[in-house]
């Protein structure tokens, strides 16, 4: 499922009005915590996420190890905290990459001259015909594993969806009254794109990118689950969940906490994205 498709699924802004404030604040707190953990993990934990303590494997949650320890005696809490950096890096990076490539392709598919626009369009069609996961798997197979490669794979795989959305936004912005009005006023086409079309499609795209961060985190965790994402011992959340799931019956905490971290972050990011959308649409009075 692509970020673009999720966006389509986003309920129209006004729907959420009733429960935005509390939810948004909570979501903001969660996202802030995740960002803090990514930047300064030391705020939350002092244990080394990669240090195996062979004497203390599978300790249930306790004061010393709030989330317990895993199959190598590593502190799960510390791994989850340190994992925020990788998951967030991948999520944000992949979303940005998708956004960049998608916007570029979307613009090119509208504005390139000499029929090249249609060429780009067909190219996007071809990319769309690849299921995202398959594309990501292929890219990983070519590039190898690792956080950066996962980022690239998820980002590239998602780009086509963004391109489609950007294209439709550009098209409708170009046909919009204000773009036409700018033309009547005598603005040059390039200026119309730069100062009318782009800024106006920026809103939905910013929302898309925000929600895209969440979806990218999910996609990356899927790759890790298949053993093709980030390689251990890097504590990316998907990898943690993937490792931990083998011990679900012995040590549920090794997988439950990473799973919760993923779900909670993605929910919060999505909630933020939606309230952002709500605010952006409200601001225009449309």
């Amino acid at each position: 499922m692509s970020a673009a498709d999720t966006l389509l699924a986003v309920p129209r802004a006004k729907r959420l009005r009733g429960n935005v404030p509390v939810g948004t604040i909570l979501a903001g707190i969660v996202v802030a915590a995740v960002i803090a953990a990514a930047l300064v993990p030391g705020l939350f934990t002092h244990l080394d996420p990669e240090e195996a303590v062979l004497g203390s494997v599978f300790q249930p949650p306790s004061a010393a190890h709030p989330f317990g320890t895993d199959h190598l005696g590593r502190d799960v809490a510390s791994r989850v905290v340190h994992g925020a950096r990788y998951s967030l890096l991948i999520g944000v990076g992949a979303a940005l990459l998708s956004l960049l490539i998608g916007t570029l392709l979307g613009l090119l598919s509208v504005y390139l001259p000499f029929g090249l626009d249609r060429l780009v369009q067909r190219g996007v069609d071809i990319l769309l015909a690849f299921p995202e996961l398959l594309l990501a798997l292929l890219i990983i197979a070519v590039l190898g594993r690792g956080p950066v490669n996962t980022l690239i794979a998820v980002g590239l795989a998602g780009a086509a969806g963004y391109a489609r959305l950007v294209r439709s936004q550009v098209l409708s912005a170009r046909l919009s009254g204000y773009a036409e009005q700018a033309k009547v006023l005598g603005e040059s086409p390039l200026r119309v794109v730069a100062s009318r079309v782009l800024p106006n499609i920026a809103r939905p795209i910013v929302v898309l990118a925000t929600i895209g961060v969440g979806t990218s985190i999910l996609s990356a965790s899927g790759l890790s689950f298949l053993g093709l994402g980030v390689a251990p011992p890097t504590p990316e959340w998907g990898a943690l969940l993937s490792e931990g799931r083998s011990y679900l019956s012995t040590a549920p905490w090794a997988s439950v906490f990473p799973a919760t971290a993923i779900a909670l972050s993605v929910v919060s990011i999505t909630v933020l994205g939606r309230s952002l959308q709500a605010r952006l649409t409200k601001g225009t009075g449309a």
Partner: protein, 706 residues
């Protein structure tokens, strides 16, 4: 059929007074004194019991605000009569109507002393009981026919929906019968079609069919003709009249006083949820006791008030209300013109306007200027001493040189930035009289020449549609050409072609004596400043991110190099020109009212200092009072800035009010063109005749079908 007594006017006046008292008291309950009076009246007047009887209806939406959306409304609808509710947008007309079927809206709190359908109190019905009222005892035709039919279902299914469970055959028969009764000639075919396959008029008929399929005693029609062409509108209204004649009560909601004048027997004028005035149509229109009603009447544009202000400042009216003996000339002027329209052949009970030209300051009822006979400057200069410096010129200068002079001076005037800067407040500046070209445009090189323009669009399923088919027009400097015609006749396409937004498949557009449509966009761009547009939907033409100031700055930046402060000053000046406050510069257009938006749009267009303005239905989205303000502004600009305009509208009154010449379009062709009065008075083409005939006019009330 329906007869009225003079006492009904008194009764309503009493109600209105009572209501006014109540508001000052802050109470919401219906004033008991108001009701018996009306009841007595109806008991006397109607031998039959009313199908619906409402007393003291109040509706609030407590979740939204404490405002009384409907405030103490009382009325009856008797079998066989059409009762109209008029009022501007948001005055509570629809909510009132919807309350009759228990659908006032989600979260609505409805109270009433009485809400009786055929004698049964229905207010306290539960949802299930309401359902058996809807569609069975009350047929409801909602506002906006074009979207009131489920586009995904067949007409037959829609119409038959109110029937409940029935054998398929019976159902089909009854659906077809209803369609036929609604004036659809081929119900077998139509019932299998979808809404989009029907024209607007047919859709409205289908909707009416779905409302009467169960043969309800009351039919409520909420603005049944708003989106329709005048010709279609007329047919639909005739149909309603026929249905009433069959013995139904019809509650007709509209904002068009002309429709009321022509089709209703009684009318309620609503304002802010309250009934400002009610009574027989003749009484209310001819002798409006309520200031608001008078404003509404005054705002209707037509030939007769051309060159004069349509909008009357509310304070003038308030002043008038305080002392009705000293009625201001300005409003009387408006009232008298409309009164003049009321056909002399009306029933004997109606107070009749005389055929004597009125004198200024005379009481409204006595004011009856002669109907214009088409001569220039025939409008009586009835308002010489009006406080609003209303049309100071009775007749337009006839000589072409004078006209030239007037254009020149107007442009010069516009050029000096302070010349118009003080144009604020509707009553300080008088719009100049319409400079009327006297058919001698030949001596001036035309600004715009459209020659044999043809535009072909690909239609559905590979078909091709000629939106423009060999259209030729020309507009001289300072001249306003009105373009009228039914929907889809190619008016907008013509406008877009003139703006250089629509490629021509054949023919040419020349602007300012040079090729235009033949130029590549690159070479058109420097000339674009000289031809500007005001659109029907100003909001859509504004970049939603920009403030009013930025919007106006947009063309200024593209013009001659100027410092930011200078441009700002210019923006303020332009806002002043359109009668807006400079404070609005920082506002976003989304938060402005419709009239304000349209003014901003005009200011933006003027910022380029254009010579030609294309106005595509610039007022059709506005309610009649706002429309009046914008039209006044345009008239003023015509004179002061000497703008030439291509004015597109489907509203003949508006066109007549504002333009010098008109072109009538049908199916992409111009079927008739000429000076506005000439065409209006002596239409030659049958389509023009039909078009003009269909326009409901106050005073052209045909005798009701009995």
């Amino acid at each position: 059929m329906s007869t009225r007594t003079t006492s009904s006017t008194t009764a309503t006046a009493a109600t209105a007074e009572a209501a006014a008292t109540k508001v000052t008291d802050g109470h919401r309950q219906a004033d008991p004194t108001a009701v018996p009076a009306d009841e007595r009246t109806s008991a006397e007047a109607h031998e039959q019991a009313p199908v619906v009887s409402v007393r003291g209806l109040t509706v609030t939406f407590p979740e939204r605000s404490d405002r009384l959306v409907v405030d103490d409304v009382s009325f009856d609808v008797h079998p066989g009569e059409i009762v109209a509710i008029v009022g501007r947008s948001g005055s509570g007309k629809s909510v009132t109507a919807r309350s009759l079927i228990g659908l006032a809206g989600s979260g609505a709190v409805v109270t009433a002393d009485r809400l009786d359908l055929e004698g049964e109190h229905v207010l306290a019905l539960d949802e299930g009981a309401w359902r058996s009222v809807r569609g069975r005892r009350v047929g409801f035709v909602l506002q906006d026919a074009l979207t009131s039919l489920d586009p995904l279902r067949r007409i037959g299914d829609e119409v038959g929906e109110a029937l409940g469970r029935l054998p398929a055959n019976d159902r089909r028969d009854r659906v077809e019968a209803a369609l036929r009764r609604a004036g659809i000639v081929d119900p077998e075919v139509r019932s299998r079609q979808y809404a989009h396959q029907l024209s607007g008029g047919l859709r409205q008929r289908a909707l009416i069919a779905s409302a009467i399929v169960n043969d309800p005693r009351l039919l409520v029609a909420d603005e049944p003709t708003t989106a329709l062409d005048v010709t279609v509108q007329r047919h639909v209204l005739e149909l309603l009249r026929g249905l009433a004649a069959e013995g139904r009560g019809v509650l007709l909601i509209t904002h068009d006083l002309a429709v009321v004048a022509q089709f209703a027997s009684r009318v309620l004028v609503m304002q802010n949820g309250r009934v400002g005035e009610s009574g027989t149509v003749e009484d209310v229109l001819a002798n409006p006791s309520d200031a608001y009603t008078r404003r509404l009447l005054a705002a209707i544009p037509s030939e007769h008030n051309r060159g004069r202000r349509l909008s009357v400042a509310p304070d003038e009216i308030d002043a008038a209300e305080i002392d009705s003996a000293e009625i201001d000339a300005a409003e009387i002027d408006a009232a008298e013109i409309d009164a003049a329209e009321i056909d002399a052949a009306e029933g004997p009970n109606v107070p009749r306007p005389t055929d004597v030209p009125g004198e200024s300051g005379a009481p409204a009822s006595a004011q009856t200027p002669t109907r214009s006979t088409g001569g220039e400057g025939s409008v009586a200069p009835a308002t010489a001493d009006a406080p609003a410096e209303a049309p100071a010129t009775a007749g337009a200068p006839e000589a072409s040189d004078t006209r030239k002079g007037s254009v020149a001076s107007a442009r010069a005037n516009a050029g000096s930035s302070d010349g118009a800067a003080d144009a604020s407040g509707g009553d300080t500046t008088a719009p100049a009289a319409l400079a009327k070209p006297s058919g001698t445009t030949g001596d001036l090189a035309p600004l715009l020449v459209v020659d044999d323009a043809t535009v072909v669009f690909p239609g559905p399923r590979g078909s091709r549609r000629r939106a423009l088919d060999g259209v030729s027009i020309r507009i001289a400097p300072g001249e306003t050409l009105g373009v009228v015609g039914e929907s889809g006749s190619g008016k907008s396409t013509l406008g877009r072609a003139v703006l250089g937004l629509q490629r021509l498949d054949a023919g040419s557009v020349e602007l300012f004596g040079a090729p235009w449509s033949a130029l590549p966009e690159r070479r058109r761009r420097p000339l674009r400043r000289r031809v500007q547009v005001i659109s029907q939907d100003p909001l859509g033409s504004f970049d939603p991110r920009l403030t009013v100031g930025q919007l106006i700055d947009q063309p200024l930046r593209l013009g001659p190099r100027r410092a930011a402060a200078e441009r700002r000053a210019e923006a303020v000046r332009l806002l002043g020109l359109v009668d807006l406050d400079g404070d609005l510069l920082g506002e976003r257009p989304g938060r402005l009212s419709g009239g304000q938006r349209q003014r901003v749009s005009i200011a933006q267009a003027l910022a380029s200092d254009p010579e030609l303005l294309v106005a595509d239905e610039p007022v059709s989205a506005l309610d009649v009072l706002t429309q009046a303000q914008v039209l006044d502004l345009l008239v003023e600009l015509q004179a002061r800035v000497g703008l030439a305009m291509l004015f597109i509208s489907h509203d003949l009154g508006v066109v007549q009010h504002l333009t010098h010449r008109i072109a009538v379009m049908k199916d992409g062709r111009i079927v008739e063109t000429g000076p506005v009065d000439e065409v209006f008075d002596r239409p030659r083409h049958p389509y023009t005749v039909e078009l003009f005939d269909a326009v409901p006019r106050i005073g052209t009330r045909p005798s009701p079908a009995t």
